[in-house]
Subunit: 209 residues, 4 copies
Amino acid sequence: MYPPVIQKLINLFSKFPTVGPRTAARFIFYLIKLPQEKFDEFLNSITNLRESIKICSFCFNPFDASANSEEKLCPICQNNSRDKTLLCIIEKETDLISIEKTKRYKGLYFILGGTISGLKKNDIEKLKIKELEERIKNPENFDIQGVDLKEIIIAANPTTEGEVTALYIERELKPLGIKITRLGRGLPVGGELEYADEETLGSAFEGRK
Amino acid sequence: MYPPVIQKLINLFSKFPTVGPRTAARFIFYLIKLPQEKFDEFLNSITNLRESIKICSFCFNPFDASANSEEKLCPICQNNSRDKTLLCIIEKETDLISIEKTKRYKGLYFILGGTISGLKKNDIEKLKIKELEERIKNPENFDIQGVDLKEIIIAANPTTEGEVTALYIERELKPLGIKITRLGRGLPVGGELEYADEETLGSAFEGRK
Amino acid sequence: MYPPVIQKLINLFSKFPTVGPRTAARFIFYLIKLPQEKFDEFLNSITNLRESIKICSFCFNPFDASANSEEKLCPICQNNSRDKTLLCIIEKETDLISIEKTKRYKGLYFILGGTISGLKKNDIEKLKIKELEERIKNPENFDIQGVDLKEIIIAANPTTEGEVTALYIERELKPLGIKITRLGRGLPVGGELEYADEETLGSAFEGRK
Amino acid sequence: MYPPVIQKLINLFSKFPTVGPRTAARFIFYLIKLPQEKFDEFLNSITNLRESIKICSFCFNPFDASANSEEKLCPICQNNSRDKTLLCIIEKETDLISIEKTKRYKGLYFILGGTISGLKKNDIEKLKIKELEERIKNPENFDIQGVDLKEIIIAANPTTEGEVTALYIERELKPLGIKITRLGRGLPVGGELEYADEETLGSAFEGRK
């Protein structure tokens, strides 16, 4: 129904997270009608993104390396005031931002790159488990200094997929002999006892203070 | 639009929790079409409810007193295997059931009968604060034996209303010198880091284990 | 978990339309705490309902017969200013109220008592198809006067179930040789072209005016 | 919190329709991790979009002009089998696609470019009302042939905004003396009588067939 040059771009935008064909079409009509200078600004920003951004060699967090193209670590891994005895394993980049916003965690991160649903070989291969183990065993091989891990926090979502992933990681990391913890469960802000499941409410009782 | 006898009952059903006029109308057509014996069963059950149910003199939990009309305590308050050093203050009857289902709390309860929104005099008067203080100070005056409180858990919802209520109760109970706790916060089962607010996620980090 | 006298009533309320066990429990605690005079008012209203309400012998609409216990027709069927050439077949009592509120239909009704999902024998037997045919063929047998049907409107929901039911009724009534119509389709108030399905939007084009 | 090069692009993506900062961030991490050849394909598609797409001089529909850069009309306006006595005024490009999919309209279109909310001067100026009038009066000035309008369909959404816009256009076009129609209202596929507003249900009765 659409001209091929539009349909092609609908297909590409439809692969973006959360985007379906209807939204993709709206993106395209938005781009078509954008004033030329705004369009160029958008195009340049995307081009610059790939040129400026590098992936941190320790934690896989993307960072801006345009100031120093030799830099291999993200600002968090470079920061000497972070607590280098703590490592928090997260699923994806935006989880890191969510946690930083709380200002209650001062340790290091590791971005795993996904979750396991079920225990499909395919899903497991996508996770950076091997990379994780290497960094825990020999952090000094990854351009970072002063790492002395005493606790590994598996910050998986308390969903079925997150649980399966956390259990898998826990089993893999156990032989390393470092304390492994998980995020506390309880009632979220705005939640109600009445709609809480038994596990959540039980944890809220145990974690009372 | 409806005959008065129906409209009257729509008005009464509309005062039931969660029921609006549209649902009330459907209740009535359901009742009209119920076979006579089912209708009588419903009517008898409602009549018996008021005759059999008494309110526990210690915790305000409704219980079935038809076996022993002299009984003043609900089965939980009567139960000697409950931990009588713990008192959990809850908003309403269904919260007690939610907590009992977790099987992780073995103490006593007190049903407060509502929450404070804002700090309206009207709302505060509806709460059984005075009754609560009397029971904490002199439990033996309320037909219960062996109470020796060491901890009072304010199981308020982590909503704005619940917070205000919890703060108010805490202030009232502080002079009694008993340890006061609240339910632990954290990620609920099925929740996702990405959508958690900063307070919830921060608590989840602090409550890790 | 609940005393049997409460659990029994939870089970009965759970059979009310739209009510689940959690809501049923809240109904019961509401009833327990109702002041005695309010409780008696509720009980009396329910008792009176069954005594006052009769089902119209022509259209199956419930009506208040307390003023005249001999009356067999509802106010609509009794009303000589209604257009007795039109009969509108509806699923349930509340649909009649919805249509009356529009003030744009002045004919008679017939309450079918359900819809067919799939074409299950069980569902079909619950519908008053035989009663419908009898009333169309010989309305004078059902206490109503002056009926001279020229059009039968099948006011089924434009859902899959409603469609199946409408097709079934249409096939049953066709031999009677009376014009059969359906409600017009189009965009509802508040709807948007963008989210309309093709059938709805196509009908909106054909029904433009 | 994000590096400036990422934050800049988050801001730009946040201006896309339906996109907020959280989704924008996910878009960027998606782009960062895209394999180089996929990234180049995306970039080329966007660049080509602006070079290939022209806006139809009659109806403002974007079309692919890469085959013939002299072409001024979109395929619909060029198509001699379309009914050139009908003009359908729509809000935006995706509405045209929605209508084409129904296969029940064979006339011409005009994309108005927005709706009026309230009657703000600002909103009105964004609409192509002047352009619309010019095309209705002198279609031959806009590269199109054989236009002989007998009916103008205002295909506004049946929302408050859409109604205001339709009334405004109707008032502007009335002096031209061409028949003006609107889309038919009624029950949408999947709708239910019970939840239909009175206007929609009334229209459904009037539009029965």
